[in-house]
Symmetry: C2
Subunit: 304 residues, 2 copies
């Protein structure tokens, strides 16, 4: 059998194989999401980074299911500022970063917003590492959905290390936390960073994590797309989306890394919701479904 | 003549007189804005700060003119973290901060959004200083409005020092700049910080700055409230408001100071627009009024 010329053999350098996997993952996810959406298609923008490399940003807007879906691939080389290097525990140097990052904002407040990211960082001097994760942000809580999402992630983790899921779930709850609101962004998932050591093994895990994303999320879309909602539910979604914007702009490492390394703003900020509201001091009625969500957001839960 | 018991005499400590002036300024501005709005009234929330002091937040929502108007007074004592102290060029210590801060988001895209702030900072050890400023964020540009706003500010500055207006206008253009977008937040105004030296003289200037706010802004409301607009203009306003949220959450010193010193999130973030849109990579049509605004935002101009 002749190996396909488009697939790098096991012997290609790790970075090459990682980039190839990431590009393929973006492609597969976008194709599937278009099928699920049924109305809009992804537009693609190829761009070059100011200091090296570039990326491919794919955005679907005003779809049947998705109000905005952004799936970004990038592979860039940038010079770390002193400040940013300190945050990453590195000396100021060039770093190569490649990854896939996506955020899906559905029209329906009954379908949760989801985020997924896998990334590979290679500093000029020092150890290479992987990072990534995915987390779910429901506007209305369906326990079954939360359980399915977490179980799928646990399945992908358990294949590699039984300690991964509990550790990465804990890190996720800690990371996607809006400090100034004292509440979680959503109901979590997994988050990992600075995974070093045996990089081939880590890469195998990262692939399984990336690959399980559609299995973790698409069944939720299917279950909830017919769930009824009205103006009040939409408004609640818009207000909660405000929290999402707050988290991404104030705390998210990927966003800050991107903006501080002069990344392409439109690609970095495509994660922001299409429409948002900020109402002063809004508190949901006691015993409402909105209040039930807030209880979970202030008391992270074990879903398995 | 018996001096009124409600007015502190010249001999009261500076901080007392500053707080009294700030509270009075908040009160006067809110009364006037209610008259101008003609429909909604300000709600008031008194709150206590976690580590000392508190404030009075006044918010008007869904008014005739203002979609959201927030005018905040606060007087708090907080312990500076090492990180925040470094930003302020201080050693970690307690600092007393008092100020008035407002942001008005009109319904009509023809009326600009405006921000004003005056503040007084007293570190436990070290020099006290004043800061403040105000800036205009139009969605559609009317040269007359920009000139009136800047001329009024220049008038207030010139009474104290002919160098103030050009210096503070320059600082304002530098401060209200959205680095990752490479564009200004609006058409500027004045911005000043770390005004030390003769504090009585500085206080006199700060009072004139605060007092000129309504004269600088209200005529614009009056001129533009009958200007027609439709869905397309509203959408442009919502998209530009997204930039406003980006600036406030990523760069604004007051917001960051507030969030990092565990201030009351609802009071700090009342500056955020009531409704916002983020559309991917939207570029206005060439030669449109929207494009004309962007030209000004990327090329700050001398308005006098």
């Amino acid at each position: 059998m002749t190996p396909s010329p488009n697939v790098s053999s096991q012997k290609a350098p790790l970075r090459t194989r990682v980039e190839e996997y990431f590009r393929g993952l973006q492609e597969r996810i976008c194709s599937q999401l278009e099928v699920v959406d049924g109305k809009a298609a992804f537009k693609a923008d190829e761009w070059a980074h100011a200091t090296g490399g570039g990326g491919l940003t794919r955005v679907l807007e005003k779809g049947g299911i998705f109000e905005k879906a952004g799936v970004n691939y990038s592979s860039t080389t940038s010079q770390l500022t002193k400040k940013l290097a300190a945050k990453l525990n590195l000396t100021p140097q060039k770093v190569h970063a490649t990854g896939v990052s996506l955020v899906l904002h559905p029209q329906s407040p009954m379908i949760p917003t989801v985020h997924m990211n896998v990334r590979y960082l290679e500093p000029e001097s020092g150890e290479t590492w992987f990072g990534g994760g995915m987390d779910l942000t429901p506007y209305y809580l369906f326990d079954d959905d939360a359980r399915h999402f977490h179980k799928t992630l646990k399945g992908a983790c358990d294949k590699h290390d039984k300690n991964f899921y509990p550790r990465f779930k804990f890190l996720c709850d800690g990371y996607f936390f809006i400090r100034h609101r004292n509440e979680s962004r959503g109901i979590g998932g997994i988050f990992f960073d600075y995974l070093k050591g045996d990089l081939e093994k880590t890469f195998a895990f990262v692939k399984d994590a990336g690959n399980c994303f559609l299995d973790a999320y698409l069944p939720l879309v299917d279950r909830r797309k017919k769930e009824p909602w009205g103006k009040a539910e939409k408004e609640w979604q818009l207000i909660r989306r405000g929290r999402y914007a707050e988290f991404n702009l104030v705390y998210d490492r990927g966003t800050i890394f991107g903006l501080e390394t002069e990344g392409r703003a439109e690609s970095i900020l495509m994660s922001l919701p299409p429409e948002v509201q900020w109402r002063y001091n809004l508190t949901p009625k006691p015993n409402s479904r909105e209040a039930a969500l807030l209880t979970i957001l202030t008391h992270p839960k074990d879903w398995i």
